[in-house]
Subunit: 100 residues, 4 copies
């Protein structure tokens, strides 16, 4: 979650600013779905919006996981906690895959 990087963004890497921008957008999307339900909008249209929110959340999750692997896991390994970090990482991935 480093900020002010000059290196190009690769893969799922995301800065703290990017994560916050995405989360604020997701918050707005959830509010949009609340309004759609309030207005009795067509179920299928609401579901399409929910699928979009899930995709956006997954992108945030992958961005966080990427930062975790690049920084925390790396530092943990150097501090002799590689095994502990691996167990924790795998539990997080399992939960994201709905196999928690």
């Amino acid at each position: 979650m480093a900020t002010g990087q000059t290196t190009p963004t690769r893969g799922y890497t995301a800065t703290k600013d990017q994560l916050q921008t995405r989360l604020r957008r997701i918050e707005g999307q959830v509010r949009g779905v609340e309004r759609m339900v309030e207005d009795d909008r067509y179920c299928i249209d609401v579901l399409t919006q929910i699928s979009a929110i899930r995709a956006a959340l997954d992108k945030v999750a992958l961005g966080l996981l990427d930062g975790h692997v690049r920084h925390c896991v790396q530092e943990g390994a150097e501090a002799g906690k590689a095994d502990e970090m691996a167990t924790e990482l795998m539990a997080a991935v399992g939960r994201l895959m709905g196999r928690g």
Copy 2:
């Protein structure tokens, strides 16, 4: 998304009130994640929260889909639009499974 039902809630069935309550809670959870990122909280803890939001969103999606199948698809079938409704329903399920 019927309100004021007297029949018991089964499976994924949810009233409009229940859906709105769940969505407001999800909105609060997303705001919570924004704060966690702002405060540089440990990545794994943020990911655990995101997994919880995804599960809550899936529950809302299944509630909406349930209402859609019970009411709209049924009415659509009676109006001779069974095939059109099935195509639309399947597209929504495919998107929810991330196979859009």
Copy 3:
């Protein structure tokens, strides 16, 4: 799961022949992964294959679900079992979304 249709394939609709062909291919893919593990192939390459199998299985599931919605649910509704069919359908979708 109709066979010998002359109507064009739309959306996730699949004939029995198509489903069987896809399942045989998936069986072969699983055997391929067994060999990869046996040969100590690189984990990431094995995982890529597993992701492909999951996508193929989801396509089969969506094809079956499509047939179910178009035929069984429709006939069930005409036989006065619309509600029972909806409950059953939603449970199946929930399981496919890993929220069983």
Copy 4:
């Protein structure tokens, strides 16, 4: 994917033998689904089996990923390829989450 370990199995860790046993069982489950489709078994029952196969495949994937994180990523980091390994790992996780 180490074999003959005396350390207890934790989390998703799986030996090569365990992975192969699970994959052979999955192969049998896929063959079972082929027979179910051949015999025109009730769609919902076939879908339940497919959901079970998906869950079993995810368990194999998590077992492989666990071994990868514990051994390959660790060795890669020591060989100065931490960043390359992280990019590769994240791409694999993204594909497993259906966000490839």
